[in-house]
């Protein structure tokens, strides 16, 4: 073990002298958290909805009053009134409007006759987020429009009662678990990838190989020292990220302790994976070249930014073996739901087994000679 400690000591002393790399690996995910969190998380407001009233009846006026109410309260859209449908459609195509709502002639008459009245919404569906927000608001509005002035006390209509188990989760909080894992990954990539290969190219490893050190001791030393740095980056993200994202009671000791355990498991898994990938590499370009690709292939299928249920089969298959998936799942449990350890025991188990397998494979593939 004294040899393993020597490797760790060397690495950590170097890190202490030039901590720039770890700072970089903390700042990059932090920037992503803030920018991405606010870029996607916000409620969509102030869409422009062109309204063409070709009917002018009382029900149409009631509808327009409801639009005004939306514009004044939820502010999802602001109605702009057009007298001419052609002009409204032209403005939609020009991008001035996000949608055009047409109240056709005879709308009022059909409402009063109970003859399936229709209004038409033409929307700019190149922007799915905006168009579905628009659609959603109008969809919600219509039952209110349709309801009779006097409600029967009992109806035969089935209704859905939704109970939200957790407080509202803004997107920035949804993103935080992925960003914690990303910080650990960047740290593993720099420590386990770039520095490892540079040291090898510089001949530093040759210095190790002429001593009586064993393969496993080398891999263990590299893994533990790399993990130590990743743990620092991960834990900084856990605490600072929780504060930035507005997680309730961010410095709760019990939760931080659980998070630390998961940070350790994730760091070990990602570092050992990195050594497995890099064990036969000697060109300093390789870790730099695959950095972005690895990030994409591991980060996005993990469900960190979008639910996995929407993925095609091949991407779900990647997610099953991707250590990111389990790390992100675990952090979601802890960050968003503050669960106990039992809820993440499966994730921890996967990460530790993954570490053991990756380290064994790396040791077997490691060449003790030049």
């Amino acid at each position: 073990m004294h040899r393993v400690w020597a490797i760790i000591e060397r690495d950590l002393r170097r890190f202490r002298r030039s901590p720039v790399l770890v700072i970089v690996s903390i700042i990059m995910p932090m920037v992503q958290l803030v920018v991405l969190g606010y870029a996607f998380g916000g409620v969509i407001r102030n869409l422009k909805l062109g309204v063409v009233d070709e009917d002018h009846g009382v029900p149409a006026i009631k509808l327009k009053e409801m639009f005004q109410a939306v514009a004044a309260n939820a502010r999802t859209f602001a109605p702009l009134y057009y007298t001419d449908k052609g002009t409204a459609m032209r403005d939609l195509r020009n991008g001035t409007l996000n949608g055009v709502l047409d109240i056709p002639p005879l709308f009022s008459r059909k409402v009063l006759a109970g003859a399936t009245p229709r209004i038409a919404l033409a929307e700019d569906n190149t922007d799915q987020f905006s168009s579905s927000a628009l659609e959603g608001v109008i969809d919600q509005m219509l039952p209110a429009f349709n309801s009779a002035p006097v409600q029967p006390r009992m109806t035969a209509d089935a209704t859905l009662a939704v109970v939200e188990v957790y407080p509202y989760v803004p997107y920035i909080q949804y993103l935080l678990p992925g960003v914690i894992v990303l910080a650990i990954f960047v740290s593993a990539m720099i420590g386990g990838g770039i520095i490892f290969i540079d040291d090898k190219a510089r001949g530093l490893h040759e210095g190790y190989l002429v001593t009586p050190i064993r393969k496993f001791e080398l891999i263990l030393g590299f893994t533990l020292s790399g993990a130590a740095k990743a743990i620092i980056a991960g834990f900084v993200l856990v605490t600072l990220g929780s504060i930035i994202a507005g997680i309730p009671d961010p410095l709760n000791i019990v939760r931080l302790a659980k998070m630390l355990l998961l940070v350790v498991a994730t760091s070990l898994a990602l570092i050992s994976m990195m050594f497995l990938i890099m064990v036969r590499v000697s060109d300093p370009l390789v870790p730099r070249a695959i950095f972005g690709m690895l990030n994409t292939v591991l980060y996005f299928p993990s469900g960190a930014v979008y639910p996995q249920q929407s993925f095609p089969g091949w991407m779900k298959a990647i997610a099953v073996v991707d250590p990111f998936t389990y790390a992100v799942h675990g952090f979601k449990q802890l960050v968003l739901k503050n669960t106990g350890l039992m809820a993440i025991s499966g994730d921890l188990l996967f990460l530790f087994v993954f570490t053991a397998l990756a380290m064994t494979a790396a040791t077997l593939l490691f060449r003790r000679t030049l």
């Binding site: 060397r10 210095g207 300093p284």
Partner: protein, 331 residues
């Protein structure tokens, strides 16, 4: 028993034979030099002896241990200074040494004592706590020499120990090596491109070319073994008429160049020409003001055994040439 014994040692990389059935032995206490052009197989040979590269065939024993079967015993017996400067630039001299002492499992008490002694021996005591990135090339090399001795090895391998150093640092490294060798009873195997270095340090020199041993002997005998070409430089305070013609007719003289009273004589046989010159001078009442005879150098030996042509061979690209590596310290 020899400290290093090499029998039919061969290394092939695909079709290329880097080291071709080498045989030699190094005695205890010897400084053994490996000379050869670039790509001759010197580094491969050193790497096989230091357990970094497995031989294709043949055997090598270092300190009595087989480099394949008893590799850890070999590693424990040897100190290795690779060609590249491999000290950790961000760490101090003492930290660099301490890490290696720990890799060899030297207990704390002894570790501190040994490191202190060694740093003193290589004159780096006052810089012990300074980061290596502030060291000059010569200081780094000396630190590496100290680092290689931290586990008190019996046999010391040095791959081009003074390449890239200025003349003063080179001399300092030489003196240090000579002193360390006698104090610590070391056997040294080194490669070098500098003939003066080999001449000064080595007891015996092996010239390797195309993976084969082409010559092996002491520097003196090697120099004597090739047809010599000596240069006599002589000046006279007084000399008779037609003295230049007389000099040209001396035995074994190839060419004479004159600059007023100074003559530069090329000879195939320095000693014979010198004797004849002195006799002629006495007979003609010429007074010799100064005389020097330059003998064969190891450069001549080297060129004689390895040929005159430049060896332009392709080699595997080095990762160190990659423009992508991170800059560190003084690199």
């Amino acid at each position: 028993m020899f400290d290093i014994e090499v029998e039919n040692l061969t290394k092939r990389f695909g079709d290329f034979v880097a080291v071709d059935a080498l045989n030699f032995s190094v005695e205890h206490g010897e400084v053994f030099g490996l000379l050869g052009p670039n790509g001759a197989g010197k580094s491969t040979l050193i790497r096989m002896l230091t357990t970094l590269v497995p031989p294709t065939s043949g055997t090598a024993r270092v300190n009595g241990f087989d480099v394949i079967r008893e590799e850890n015993a070999v590693r424990q017996s040897i100190g290795v200074i690779p060609q590249a400067m491999t000290s950790d630039l961000d760490l101090t001299a003492i930290e660099n040494m301490s890490i290696f002492a720990k890799l060899y499992g030297i207990p704390r008490e002894k570790r501190l004592r040994t490191i202190k002694t060694l740093l003193k021996e290589v004159d780096l005591e006052q810089w012990a706590d300074k980061p290596v990135k502030m060291f000059s090339g010569g200081m780094r090399r000396r630190l590496e020499i100290a680092r290689g001795l931290v586990h008190e090895p019996k046999i010391f391998f040095l791959d081009e120990p003074t390449t890239g150093l200025d003349p003063v640092s080179r001399v300092a490294v030489w003196e240090m090596l000579v002193r360390l060798k006698s104090e610590r009873d070391l056997t040294i195997l080194m490669t070098t491109h500098y003939m003066d270095e080999a001449d000064k340090l080595c007891d015996r020199i092996a010239i390797v070319d195309h993976g084969k041993l082409v010559a092996l002997d002491s520097p003196l005998k090697l120099k004597a073994s090739i047809p010599g070409r000596n240069i006599l430089e002589v000046s006279f305070t007084s000399m008779p008429q037609n003295w230049l013609e007389t000099l040209k007719n001396l035995p074994d003289v190839a060419e004479v160049k004159a600059d007023e009273n100074i003559f530069r004589i090329s000879s195939h046989n320095g000693p014979r020409t010198t004797v004849a010159l002195m006799e002629a001078a006495r007979g003609a009442n010429a007074t010799v003001a100064s005389l020097s005879v330059q003998s064969t150098t190891l450069d001549d030996v080297f060129v004689h055994y390895t040929g005159h042509q430049l060896r332009d061979t392709l080699q595997a690209p080095s990762a160190l040439d990659s423009p992508f590596m991170m800059k560190r310290g003084g690199m």
